[in-house]
């Protein structure tokens, strides 16, 4: 009984990693260059729906030769829906929330914070045997409740990602 229950719970579970390129926008592009994005994800699929918990890291360099650097670590929880669902492939839209740790450094200077973001994504997904391939676009809209200004989008990080996962 326990084995059966475990099998039911585990079926649909996948684990994998992804790589991509992050493009800062929404003001961030003024001082930051494009960088690689690396991450790992844990997903659970149920029909057309898929829940995902992911970790991403990106380190944005300064625009010119400078020791300036912005590190961004993020944990994202998202829910995807395959609006085009075929036996071997599909196209998924996803939305989620992200919370992370950001650190800016320049020489002896350092400042850090815990920014939060909304995430929207569009992915092409291919399933074959125990493998799950996904490639697509992600956009993180960082929001903050600024004193006297209210809630607003304060920065934007757009990324192109490709990943592979093992389906249990």
């Amino acid at each position: 009984m326990l084995v059966a229950l475990t099998l039911v719970l585990v079926s649909g579970l996948d684990i994998g990693g992804h790589v991509g390129a992050a493009f800062p926008t929404g003001g961030l592009e003024r001082a930051h260059g494009t960088s690689a994005i690396l991450g790992a994800s844990l997903g659970y699929s149920l029909g057309r729906f898929r829940g995902e918990l992911a970790y991403d890291y990106t380190g944005l360099p300064g625009r010119q030769a400078s020791s300036y650097h912005l590190s961004l670590h993020e944990v994202t929880a998202s829910l995807g829906y395959e609006f085009l669902h075929r036996p071997g492939w599909g196209i998924e839209v996803a939305a989620g929330v992200a919370s992370g740790f950001a650190q800016r450094s320049l020489g002896t200077g350092q400042e850090s914070g815990w920014p939060n973001a909304f995430l929207i994504g569009l992915k092409f997904v291919q399933r074959e045997g125990r493998s799950r391939l996904a490639a697509g676009l992600d956009n993180r809209l960082f929001i903050a409740n600024r004193s006297g200004m209210g809630l607003a989008v304060i920065a934007d990080l757009f990324s192109i990602q490709a990943g592979v996962g093992y389906v249990f």
Binding site: G62, R104, E111, W114, N145
Partner: protein, 212 residues
């Protein structure tokens, strides 16, 4: 029965999503990335600043045309109608310093570092200039240094309003010609506006109007 159960599950999911969003919104007060993406020293042509210094008013404006000084294209900023020349790159902002001796000889005419960009809390920079000059038969040792430090992130209230996410910069300037003159001053730079407050030993200069 089955549709009623699905409806209950659906409302639970919606409730969880709403609770998650509410928690996220409540926790959103971090502006690190906001500061990372903002211009703290905008030199937009046509911009105007008006400051109050005691009973005096200082008026600043950015000229719409640029000039070339020592081979560098620079922005002309008028301070009470007297021109200042500034260059701005992605990593620094420089000002054209012109200092003359009591006899009128030029001791310094060069672009000196004023701000190191991007501004990050705790970062420090220093710009130094040395020269030895022969003035009316006497050898004069001249030096000019300007050291800056990003000291704090604060909110500043002036007659122009309250500005949040301002960087407070502490400066120390020293001129040796050959007598040593040391001055200390503090500036508060607001995102998208520039200097909103300047504090010197003579008093505070506060922004009363900004137009762009």
């Amino acid at each position: 029965m089955s549709s009623r159960k699905k409806g209950l599950e659906g409302s639970k999911v919606r409730g969880l999503i709403a609770a998650g969003c509410w928690l996220l919104l409540c926790a959103c007060s971090d502006t690190t990335l906001y500061r990372a993406g903002r211009d703290y020293f905008p030199l937009i042509p046509g911009s105007e600043w008006r400051y109050q210094f005691g009973t005096d008013t200082t008026y600043l404006s950015v000229d719409s045309s640029q000039q070339v000084i020592q081979g560098q294209t620079c922005t002309v900023l008028y301070r009470n109608f007297a021109p200042e020349y500034w260059t701005k790159g992605l990593t620094e902002v420089r000002k054209f310093f012109v200092l003359a001796s009591g006899y009128g000889e030029t001791l310094e005419a060069r672009f000196g570092l004023v701000y190191q960009l991007p501004l990050v809390l705790g970062s420090v920079w220093q710009d130094e200039f040395f020269d030895t000059l022969l003035v009316r038969g006497d050898t004069i040792y001249f030096s000019h240094s300007l050291a800056g430090r990003v000291a704090a992130i604060e909110a500043v209230s002036t007659l122009a309003g309250t500005f949040y996410d301002c960087y407070r910069l502490d400066f120390q300037e020293q001129v040796v010609d050959p007598e040593t003159t040391t001055t200390q001053f503090t500036e508060w730079l607001a995102p998208g506006v520039g200097v909103v407050k300047r504090q010197t030993s003579a008093g505070d200069e506060l922004l009363i109007e900004y137009k762009r």
